[in-house]
């Protein structure tokens, strides 16, 4: 134990654990010169080049990436090039497509009579009985408008007193979001918004979801989780969860009264929304670490429920990724870091709210900057082969030392190998008994 202690201590010192990295010629290209990105590239001694040059590592915006992959561009990547997006990431990040994919995934599993797709009857808030998936009920009931309007009305009638949240599919950072608690309000909105229910007149579609009106509160305030998930491959699925996520708090006490329904400072946790509230604090930015959330929950609620919550969160992430894995263009040149937004309700059940394919790399506080610097650093270590030069022929199995603050969520290839090894063993065992 003495040696253990010493090892632990020797790992403790220093702010950012930055072992010297062998300088190798990697040409990088980026179209957003965020400081957390640039300082990481510089520390690795990489060389910046333009888009038309011979780059190895491209940190691109989703738009740039789409252009690059488009048929018109005709760009063909070589074996030593990687880029930070999958061509059709929107299957996961667009609110309507995410819902569609998850619904399809559930149906598929149900058809295969998978135990994961088990259903059970539950009592809805309105007192009526409905059926829900036992293990795959991790997104709030959601419909795409205008397409699913009739289905929505049917669901709405089952529990007319619940609140619903409307979000435009293509927008982010809390823009265009509002809450409704009466069908008449939705109708009024649709009239005022110049008939968005006629797709030919308006391109914009919305999703409407049951609003989680019983969020877990800490210090009386609502929060959501922002977790970072790195995917290096969709088939086989290989995904990692970053340990240093955070909670984003509303600056105002949570209040469900009807008068506060329009006060977005109460309901939305987006930093871009909260920043405009009078009580926004620049030192902590309303952010608390996930480690401290775990400490608080273990201290006040106990260990078993806390463990259950965190494993439910991992479950949710893995199955949301599996839901899109069949439709994703699994280009070996790609990796992607997703920002998962999750709300925890007062029963400590996590709900997936949305997935962002280009989570903000702007730092709002000092701790935020340190965390995002580590995120990028660890991400580069995981996606690059041990020699540090991008190579698509590499099997994308980094050694655990390269993980940094990432935990392996799932590696289907490894699982498959293990399974084969174990069935092989049991087969042999069987034989010897004979």
């Amino acid at each position: 134990m003495n040696a253990d202690t010493k090892k632990l201590i020797s790992n403790q010192y220093g702010r950012v654990n930055a072992p010297p990295i062998e300088r190798c010629r990697v040409n990088f290209c980026t179209d957003m010169e965020k400081s957390v990105l640039m300082s990481n590239f510089e520390r690795r001694g990489w060389n910046q080049v333009g888009q038309d040059d011979e780059w190895n590592f491209y940190w691109a915006s989703t738009q740039t990436c789409r252009n690059l992959f488009s048929v018109e561009s005709g760009y063909r990547m070589n074996d030593n090039q990687i880029i930070n997006h999958f061509p059709n990431h929107y299957e996961l990040s667009r609110k309507d497509l995410l819902v569609k994919n998850i619904k399809r995934y559930r149906k598929e599993l149900e058809r295969e009579s998978s135990p994961i797709a088990e259903k059970a009857e539950v009592v809805l808030p309105g007192g009526q009985v409905g059926t829900r998936y036992v293990h795959l009920d991790f997104i709030p009931v959601t419909f795409v408008l205008p397409a699913d309007y009739n289905m929505f009305v049917e669901e709405y009638r089952k529990s007319p007193q619940s609140t619903w949240i409307m979000k435009p599919c293509g927008k982010s950072q809390g823009t265009g979001i509002f809450l409704i608690n009466k069908l008449s309000k939705l109708k009024k909105w649709s009239r005022e918004a110049k008939a968005p229910f006629h797709p030919q007149l308006s391109k914009e579609s919305y999703v409407i979801s049951r609003y989680i009106d019983n969020p877990l509160l800490i210090g009386g305030k609502k929060f959501d989780l922002r977790l970072y998930v790195l995917v290096t491959s969709f088939r086989h699925l290989k995904a990692y969860l970053f340990q240093l996520g955070f909670c984003r708090f509303c600056t105002v006490k949570y209040d469900t009264s009807v008068t506060e329904l329009d006060n977005m400072y109460v309901h939305l946790t987006n930093v871009s929304v909260q920043k405009h509230g009078g009580d926004y604090n620049n030192i902590h930015g309303g952010k608390m670490s996930v480690e401290n959330l775990r400490l608080f929950l273990e201290g006040t609620r106990g260990r078993a429920v806390t463990e259950k919550l965190f494993s439910a969160i991992q479950w949710l992430i893995v199955h949301s990724l599996k839901a899109v894995s069949s439709v994703m263009a699994n280009d070996r040149h790609c990796f992607e870091c997703y920002g998962y937004d999750i709300i925890i309700d007062d029963q400590l059940k996590p709900w997936l709210v949305e997935v962002n394919a280009s989570p903000s790399l702007t730092s709002t506080t000092v701790n935020d900057r340190i965390m995002k610097y580590k995120l990028i650093d660890n991400m580069i270590s995981v996606v690059l082969p041990p020699d540090g030069i991008p190579d698509v022929r590499w099997n994308k199995t980094p050694s655990p030392e390269a993980f940094g603050n990432f935990d392996l969520l799932i590696d289907e290839e490894l699982l498959e190998k293990e399974e084969m090894a174990s069935t092989g063993r049991s087969f042999k065992g069987h034989k010897s008994r004979n």
Partner: protein, 518 residues
């Protein structure tokens, strides 16, 4: 001989029985026993034996034992006069300065120390009681009465004895105070489990357990801890805490070891404190608001708990039990007239009723408990118990071996004896080594260590029931970072080397310091 001993035990028992009658739990305890006596389990023929058995079954036996334990612990404080007159003089002068500063702040701001709140003000405050961060107060002109830095200046001039120092040389007066402090070997005898290298929580939770049936040390500690907390016997819990508590049991264990469980009586008491906050406006309330704002509200570990902390700190200032418990340890608070009240016996108040004037960072004594209790009443009584048992010693001048003066002295002696090169380096660069660690010790590291590490450290304070771990940790951190300290030669840079403690693993560091063979 036997009979003499029996007499002595009898005498002690009689004295204890008398003392118990004065305690707040006596009434309910007595009625519980009465109920038990009338139950069929207690037989007239074998009264003593059956009653004892019934008390054991009902848990009243443990309750009685714990009550005696807590009573004995509350008795062994120093009631005799401070043997060092220079200290008591300095302490009185310091108190006078604080009172003067309060009074002049009042006259500068044209307000009074105590006044009745108007009806509308009372309503406003009462409506916002659960979100006091939205209670509008103009605090721009309020400044904390003193900061750790100011208090250190006072401590540094304590002995009045100036050795042969040249102008501009640092003064090393602490070392000249005639107080006994322990050396590292003596500390090793206190923290004997640590010194022997026994496995502790906070080193590596996945370390294999030596006890069969448990895979890891963490599982072992949880298993044992569950049994200990179910037993509920305070001395056993104290023993358990020496090796660290798992976070999931800590809230319960801490409340049990301090006798700070919350029942209807405590809730009613808390509500009375709240009522007195609502009725009377003390100038100190503004200082409390200011302190929460300056500390917790700006801290990414604690900002979420801001509203809880306002409640707890305001109520604390009104708690005259604190003054009662600490009489003789904290000086003599002011008596002031409450403006706007008709002259009568209750128009005079002790200012503040708790007798405690907060300094800059006072709230940090309470913030870490927010990770254990989300109910303000429970939070309050734990904080109060900690304060009465430990924290007051960190900001009042006394010769108590656990007091701030002795702890500073202990730190200096430990540093000189165990890190002589560092000691010489500090002399060479003209920095008094206490300056770089004083705020850690005075705040018991709260706000300096991340909460999970801090809670582990405070387990140790409860487990060994002493504060010497604070200077020891200060030494350990300095010694851990000494190579970096050797590189710098002014106070700003030393402070910079020591500013970020977020990567410190408290328990392994302390255990290494205690285990190192000398």
């Amino acid at each position: 001989m036997e009979s003499l001993k029996e007499d002595a035990i009898h005498h002690t028992a009689m004295k204890l029985a008398e003392e118990l009658k004065n305690l707040s739990i006596y009434k309910s305890f007595y009625s519980d026993v009465q109920k038990l006596v009338s139950s069929p389990n207690v037989k007239k023929e074998d009264f003593k034996h059956t009653l004892q058995q019934a008390m054991k079954e009902k848990g009243l036996d443990t309750k009685l034992r714990n009550t005696v334990f807590h009573w004995v612990r509350s008795q062994n404080k120093q009631n005799k006069l401070d043997p060092l007159t220079s200290l008591s003089k300095a302490s009185a002068q310091w108190e006078k300065r604080i009172h003067k500063s309060l009074n002049s702040m009042c006259s500068d701001l044209e307000t009074s120390l105590a006044k009745v709140r108007s009806q509308s003000e009372q309503e406003d405050l009462s409506n916002k009681w659960n979100e006091l961060s939205t209670y509008n107060l103009d605090l721009t002109k309020y400044r904390p009465v003193y900061a750790p830095k100011d208090f250190l200046e006072v401590l540094l001039t304590l002995s009045g004895y100036v050795p042969f120092t040249k102008e501009g040389e640092p003064k090393w007066e602490f070392a000249h105070l005639p107080l006994q402090v322990k050396n590292l070997d003596q500390l090793r005898k206190i923290y004997v489990e640590w010194t022997n290298g026994e496995p502790l929580l906070g080193v590596n939770p996945n370390m294999p357990s030596a006890v069969s049936g448990f895979s890891t040390i963490e599982a072992e500690r949880i298993g044992l801890g569950e049994r200990v907390t179910a037993l509920g016997y305070a001395p056993v819990i104290q023993e358990y805490l020496k090796k660290g508590s798992p976070q999931c049991l800590r809230a319960k264990l801490w409340a049990q070891v301090l006798g700070a469980d919350v029942g209807a009586q405590q809730t009613a008491y808390f509500n009375r404190l709240k009522k007195s906050v609502l009725e009377v406006d003390l100038m100190i309330d503004k200082l409390i608001f200011k302190d929460v704002q300056l500390t917790a509200s700006n801290d990414d570990q604690y900002f979420v708990f801001e509203d809880l902390l306002y409640q707890v700190m305001l109520c604390f200032s009104r708690d005259s039990d604190v003054l009662q418990n600490l009489r003789g340890c904290i000086g003599n608070p002011l008596n002031v007239t409450i403006k706007g009240k008709q002259t009568s016996a209750d128009s005079i108040t002790v200012f503040p009723p708790s007798g405690i004037i907060p300094f800059h960072g006072f709230t940090m004594y309470a913030t870490p408990f927010c990770y254990l209790y989300d109910d303000p009443v429970q939070l309050y009584f734990i904080f109060r118990a900690f304060y009465i048992r430990y924290w007051h010693k960190l900001h009042y001048i006394s010769t108590h071996p656990q007091g701030i003066v002795s702890l500073c002295l202990l730190y200096e002696r430990l540093l000189e004896a165990n890190e002589p090169l560092l000691w010489i380096h500090f002399r060479n660069i003209n920095i008094n080594p206490i300056r770089v660690v004083f705020k850690w010790i005075m705040r018991a590291f709260s706000g300096h260590l991340p909460p999970d590490q801090l809670l582990l450290l405070w387990d140790t304070i409860l487990g060994y029931d002493c504060l010497e771990i604070l200077p020891l940790l200060a030494l350990a951190i300095l010694s851990f970072r000494k190579e970096n300290i050797f590189q710098v030669n002014n106070i700003q840079n030393v402070d910079a080397v020591l500013a970020d403690l977020s990567t410190i693993s408290v328990i392994p560091l302390l255990q290494l310091t205690l285990m190192k063979p000398q």
